[in-house]
Symmetry: C2
Subunit: 460 residues, 2 copies
């Protein structure tokens, strides 16, 4: 089959990326205060795409859109919106529009929506819910943040163990308010403890008289409400779960988590890791100058401290440098290469810990491998570096010194890169958060010390 070059079939509604042209039309409709034109532009869009448009607008036109779109503003748009903008947008919504918008959301989406809002806004949303939904949401909020209890939806389809396919289908036909998305019928014992689940596909494909208990899917796994959401995302990804029942401390069914929520968590966890590795914590692309500054500064301050430490090491060798200024020219090479090699093994290690591929059972193998890679890469880089340096400066000594210092620093870098995150993980600290600074501090200090120390001993 030939590869087709025709445009993306979804491009008529903007494709998978933001449609700039539509954004321009939206801006013009807002400027003109033309609500009819705005509704015509937004109505055909998926809530996620409307959220994208909101994220692309400045504060004022954003509030104007919320006001002008009015009753068209669906609760799903709030769910899709970047957390940093939710407070703002909720604040701009008329109370009756907000009430209408949140009433259609599943309980897990309401929980996700309100957990980061201020108390008055939380109250406004809770008040808009039906009594039953409000209880469900408030109960979810009793679980700690970032646990399965916050992720789960209360809406689910449950059947007793003795039912057959026909009974399950009749039960579902009789209930108009089934969850928007569900993939399993959960089987519970008389004490509401889940004992298995049956996929809808299997129910469909068996005769009405088949017992549900005979169709139970072997992927069945329960999740504790108190479990960390990161564990939940891991379990879904590892075991290819589509949905999983959530149980309380007494093993009783309290909700269900579906894969789309697990996928969103996986995405967030990755984001957190990658941003933490770069020392930017919770940064968001849409943050303002002040928030961005506040998030990045602490890390730079730490860095200023570690840089001062490296300077202190160099200061010990001022006389050496004074005697041979070329050392100042060459010393950053050893430190920089060490920092990069350290970051390489650090990143592989942090990823391995996050994916559970690196465990206590194979840590030593990985550490040995890293040490060997440090030795080999050190030698491979040191030989040409040493030779070229010796040639340029016309003496063998300086080449030997830089080569030896580089080998030492690359071995230290490899070991620091693999061992620091492992130790931090053991201590209960997120290795992505703090490893980077530790590793580059080690490679800077060792790099300068090895190079200048060897030079002081050998060359001066």
């Amino acid at each position: 089959m030939a590869e087709d070059q025709t445009p993306d079939p979804t491009s008529d509604d903007g494709g998978f990326a933001l449609d700039r042209e539509r954004l321009g039309h939206v801006r013009r409709a807002l400027d003109a205060g033309d609500g009819a034109a705005l509704a015509q532009l937004l109505d055909p869009l998926h809530p996620a795409d409307i959220a994208d448009i909101l994220e692309h607008l400045d504060r004022k036109p954003r509030a104007a859109l919320v006001r002008l779109y009015g009753a068209g503003f669906d609760g799903e748009i709030l769910s899709e919106l970047d957390e940093s903008l939710r407070e703002d947008v909720v604040g701009a919504m008329a109370p009756e529009v907000l009430a209408e918008a949140v009433r259609d959301l599943e309980s897990d989406d309401v929980v996700d929506l309100i957990e980061d809002l201020e108390t008055p806004q939380q109250e406004a949303i809770l008040d808009a819910l039906t009594a039953g939904d409000r209880v469900a949401v408030e109960q979810s909020l009793t679980y700690p943040e970032e646990t399965a209890g916050r992720l789960m939806q209360r809406e689910m389809v449950v059947a007793p163990e003795h039912w057959n396919v026909g009974q399950a289908i009749d039960h579902m036909r009789a209930h108009a308010d089934l969850p928007d998305q569900f993939y399993h019928v959960i089987i519970v014992d008389p004490r509401m403890r889940p004992t298995g689940y049956v996929t809808l596909g299997r129910i469909m494909s068996h005769s009405r008289s088949t017992r549900l208990a005979d169709l139970v899917d072997d992927s069945f796994r329960t999740i504790r409400a108190s479990q960390d959401e990161e564990e939940v995302a891991y379990a879904f990804n590892h075991y290819h779960l589509i949905s999983a029942p959530v149980v309380d401390a007494d093993d009783r069914l309290v909700g269900v988590i579906t894969i789309d929520d697990a996928m969103a968590i996986l995405d967030e966890e990755h984001e957190e890791d990658i941003l933490r590795l770069a020392g930017v914590g919770e940064s968001r692309l849409l943050d303002g100058v002040f928030v961005t500054m506040k998030r990045r500064l602490p890390w730079l301050v730490v860095n200023l401290g570690t840089a001062a430490l490296a300077a202190l090491v160099i200061a010990q060798f001022e006389d050496t440098i004074a005697a041979l200024v070329v050392l100042a020219v060459l010393m950053p090479i050893v430190a920089t290469l060490g920092g990069n090699a350290g970051t390489q093994s650090l990143t592989v290690t942090v990823r391995g810990l996050a994916t559970r591929d690196l465990t206590a059972a194979n840590a030593w193998r990985v550490i040995r491998r890293e040490a060997m890679v440090g030795v080999v890469n050190g030698l491979v880089l040191a030989v040409p570096l040493g030779l070229v340096t010796a040639l340029i400066f016309g003496t063998f000594g300086i080449g030997a010194v830089i080569a030896a210092a580089l080998v030492i620093n690359l071995i230290v870098a490899a070991l620091a890169g693999v061992m620091i995150p492992i130790v931090l993980e053991k201590l209960g600290v997120d290795p992505a958060l703090a490893s980077g600074t530790f590793v580059t501090t080690v490679t800077d200090v060792v790099g300068f010390f090895a190079f200048l120390g060897l030079a002081a001993t050998v060359l001066i």
Copy 2:
């Protein structure tokens, strides 16, 4: 509800992480050559957990496990196995075990399994398939790697537009070989073009006489077989899709992609980004020394080049340093802080591009924000750094020079961090792959040049 402290309910089968005790038992069973004990240990496990055990074993015991477990070796284990070990494990399997193992897999899993294998192994697996499956797999393989065509499964449930709920249920009951996992019945026109889909939940909850066309789900979106898998993962995450029909260039239905595959791709894409940012390309935790070295060395060689460039800049100021050796002590501070600030804005930018939050429509706003953050953070850090430096060295001049150089470098760092990935993306280069070196090269060169250049002008 009190937070429960009881152990994870799944801990009896090893919880969500590798069970070290079981691994020890497996090792002993392998040493003893005790196939019965091995089967007893492995049979209760999910294929993903057996794959984890294989990944934790060295080459020899790994092959021993494959031989000893024999017919118990399920095709799913191969699918779950890290790609770097598949060739090895497939090679260790007896041909009849391999044939049996792959016969139960869905077509997308077979494609994923064989696309990275050598031709003889590919042939062995293709030969084991039924004629129909073989055609399906070979057809998927005609699509380029990393496209939707490779991800999709051929197994799906399709209904013509005029069917009602009863006809769909009867059709599914009549077909014993329904896909393992499916969530929608796809509705097609007479030319096999998908026009909508109905979730199984909605089919379940409506009477037999309801027309399928009236139950169509508005999340419906088709995906082109030629579309990049990264786009596919994005669409699933963005639109909360559970499954999506795949169409060829003529809009005809050729397969379906399910969310678990999209989640796996999302995970891989993140992995790729985070590893590329650290300059370790396709590294895998389980690679041997030689492969690891080969993957990391190129980046270190590039780095050696950029470090040499920085050294060249310093070399221009040898006389300045000779006159004032303390400059050598202080100069890495300016360069390091610039490198870190640059990495911060780089990482936020690369993430923003990956998540499509950063687009041409808001790029200028982000660039302005970064520049402002550079100015502010530069000033906030430069003032105390300048004062302390002036105090330590007893002259105002050196403090002013380092403060001014730091502000300059942090502004340059912020701009380089945001603009380099944007330009690379425009040029069609993965910004995660190459940005890091560019940015730190810029901050090193500018940092050394600004500091030493100002010092040469002002202090000497």
